[in-house]
């Protein structure tokens, strides 16, 4: 894995750990509240905080195990909703202190779209439970204002993430160009070969193990194997060659200024190098590769169709 990818991975891991820590602290606070209720002898109000503590603890544990799943966030939300709905009303008469809390918390914990949906659906409930009885219209208005203003940074952020995913040229999981970039580079490489009278070959590489690897050994192993395969392929190829990932487990290795004979040698070396790269659990990497050469009268569409056809043929061969 390239240092940049592993850095991003480590940073994400660190942030997930921090989130787990926050969840644990919140669980501890609610547990203290439950204990206080117990010591005071107020047994009627003890069930909710105990339940919320349990939920928060489970959420923290789940978040530590897998930070990609949305389940811990939902569990945290359920716990907080329970506390807010059953404990908060009536604790602060005359002012609607708690009204904004559920919506902001939802925005912070969930992705934008489900958070907004949940906030809009639950708005009447919160207004009824946590709001004041008089001055109702003004309160609804203020609540909606808070909701919209608070969602603004999330909207901007999701916009930027969208721009990034549309304009990224490299894969996030491994050291290769992504499919869109591959397509555009294919067009320019074909045009270059035509303009300079050079041969141009593309190796379509299919790694049949990758599909199964995720199911058998988990996502981490799959990404590891993928990154390793890419590194091996980059190492074997020359500096001018372009590796791009065209599919979940297929790659196009563009070999400019390389004819059929050279590309066939390259194919042998590539499969041999991948077979020599072994991993402790999964063994050597099996690769199937097909050669597609650019012909002088090819249009780019024709070339791309042939590439996709051989990619499909490689997959069929596997089944």
């Amino acid at each position: 894995m390239s240092p940049l990818h592993s850095l991003a991975h480590r940073e994400r891991r660190e942030l997930a750990n921090r989130k787990t820590l926050i969840m644990l602290l919140a669980a501890a606070v609610i547990a203290t509240y439950a204990l206080w209720r117990y010591l005071v002898g107020d047994f009627e109000h003890i069930l909710t905080p105990v339940l919320a503590t349990l939920l928060m603890a489970i959420a923290a544990g789940l978040n530590h195990l897998d930070d990609e799943q949305p389940l811990p966030s939902y569990l945290t939300l359920i716990a907080s909703y329970l506390m807010l709905a059953l404990e908060a009303p009536g604790t602060y008469p005359g002012m609607s202190l708690w009204l904004g809390l559920p919506s902001v918390l939802t925005l912070l914990l969930l992705p934008l779209a489900p958070a907004m949906l949940l906030n809009l659906v639950l708005a009447p409930l919160w207004l009824w439970l946590l709001g004041q009885q008089e001055d109702n219209f003004g309160e609804i208005l203020r609540y909606l204002c808070l909701l919209l203003v608070a969602s603004q940074p999330f909207v901007i952020n999701s916009l930027q993430a969208g721009v990034m995913s549309l304009t990224a040229s490299e894969e996030t999981e491994c050291n290769a160009f992504n499919a869109r970039t591959g397509q555009q580079r294919l067009i320019s490489e074909a045009a270059r070969a035509r303009a300079l009278d050079q041969p141009f070959s593309i190796l379509v590489v299919y790694l049949p193990q990758l599909d199964m690897l995720g199911e058998q050994f988990g996502e981490d192993r799959r990404v590891e194997c993928l990154a390793m395969a890419c590194d091996v392929m980059q190492e074997v190829s020359r500096q001018g060659d372009l590796l791009c990932r065209s599919d979940k487990s297929s790659f196009w290795l563009m070999l400019p200024n390389t004819g059929e004979a050279g590309a066939l040698i390259m194919r042998e070396r590539l499969t041999a190098a991948l077979a020599a790269a072994t991993q402790p659990e999964t063994g050597s990497i099996i690769a199937r590769a097909r050669l597609v050469t650019y012909k002088a009268d090819d249009t780019t569409q024709k070339l791309e169709q042939r590439l996709l056809a051989s990619q499909l043929a490689l997959m069929d061969l596997n089944e």
């Binding site: 991003a8 912070l108 003004g138 203020r142 919209l148 999330f154 320019s188 249009t299």
Partner: protein
């Protein structure tokens, strides 16, 4: 297309928020002119400006000003009219999602915590500690979101393309492509040069027009880049220097607008010596339409020998096998030339 739709959506959310704020302000002013009503009106107007002129938000000072004034207005609302506006207390955490410049997030957090303290202090220490605790928890969650966003920004600076729908690549991509392209051109004995282009009449519109015409004028293998300061660059690859000057003139004629170009030959040179900032500075003030720049310093000797001997023995051996094979193949391919657009 998709992203345009999303931009519209975000503008709509912002506009709706501003309209509601102004409505609430008008309602309160109709009851009686108070400071909170005025603050609401100011906040609403600010959001209105942001939603109508989204582009302003890319300006650093404007962004900072908006974020800071939102924090201050929220704080003032909570402190002046807690009966109505106490719920804004929880909104401070959201401001931490936008940590740029670096000091802005801590400043907003500080304003938020002080406001919470002042608002809840008169209610007793248990309320105060509870409020501060919840605010701090929310802020911690917000700070995590902010860090995630910082990663997104980092990746945005490293993105490959400037435009999602066109093959216009970024300066980052240019710096990644250059060593590869130069090495390739040197190996194949082909002329390579970087042409920097800028319109004579500076301005956003002229730049955009140049980008559009360049898109159709350049051949698919003449890779286009947009540098970080907006200048456009084309990586021209031809069989010889004479062909290059011909193609260069043809390209500039095809653009059909007054432009200035600087040409940097790249053969056999060190890509690290290329200073793009200096190269694109004051480009539109050049007296001549085309300025030929002197070649860059050659690659340091140890670096070039390093390049051929990197990796282990089989890799090198393979390179030697590959080259003659591909050279022999050249004969088999019939020469053809054309444009596939």
């Amino acid at each position: 297309m998709e992203i345009k739709f999303k931009v519209r959506l975000s503008q709509f959310v912002c506009l709706l928020g501003s309209v509601l704020l102004l409505l609430e302000a008008a309602r309160q002013i109709s009851i009686g002119l108070t400071l909170t009503a005025l603050l609401l009106a100011v906040g609403g107007t600010m959001l209105l400006v942001v939603s109508l002129a989204h582009e302003l938000f890319t300006l650093r000072w404007f962004r900072t000003l908006v974020m800071l004034s939102v924090a201050l207005i929220m704080s003032a609302l909570v402190l002046l009219a807690p009966q109505q506006h106490l719920m804004w207390l929880w909104g401070f955490a959201v401001l931490l999602l936008y940590p740029r410049p670096r000091w802005l997030a801590p400043a907003c957090a500080l304003i938020g915590l002080v406001t919470t303290w002042l608002a809840l202090a008169q209610l007793g220490s248990d309320w105060l500690s509870l409020g501060i605790g919840i605010t701090a928890t929310l802020m911690a969650l917000g700070a995590i979101g902010g860090r995630r966003q910082q990663q997104v920004w980092m990746q945005l600076e490293r993105r490959g393309r400037r435009d999602s729908s066109r093959a216009i690549w970024s300066q980052y991509q240019l710096m990644r492509d250059l060593p590869r392209e130069i090495a390739r051109a040197d190996r194949e004995d082909i002329h390579i040069e970087l042409i920097l282009l800028a319109p004579v009449n500076t301005g956003r519109l002229a730049n955009r027009r140049l980008m559009n015409t360049l898109d159709s004028a350049a051949l698919p293998h003449e890779t286009r880049y947009q540098l970080d300061d907006g200048a456009l660059a084309v990586l021209l690859v031809t069989r010889g220097e004479r062909m290059a000057s011909l193609r260069r003139r043809q390209l500039i004629e095809h653009l059909a607008m007054p432009i200035r170009a600087r040409v940097q030959p790249l053969n056999d040179s060190d890509p690290n010596a290329l200073d793009l900032k200096r190269l694109s500075a004051h480009l539109s003030d050049e007296p001549q339409p085309i300025t030929l720049l002197p070649p860059l310093p050659r690659k340091p000797a140890d670096a070039s020998s390093d390049e051929t001997s990197t990796g282990d023995a089989p890799t090198d051996h393979g390179r030697d096998i590959l080259k003659p094979a591909s050279a022999a193949d050249k004969v088999a391919v019939a020469p053809s030339r054309g444009n596939d657009h």
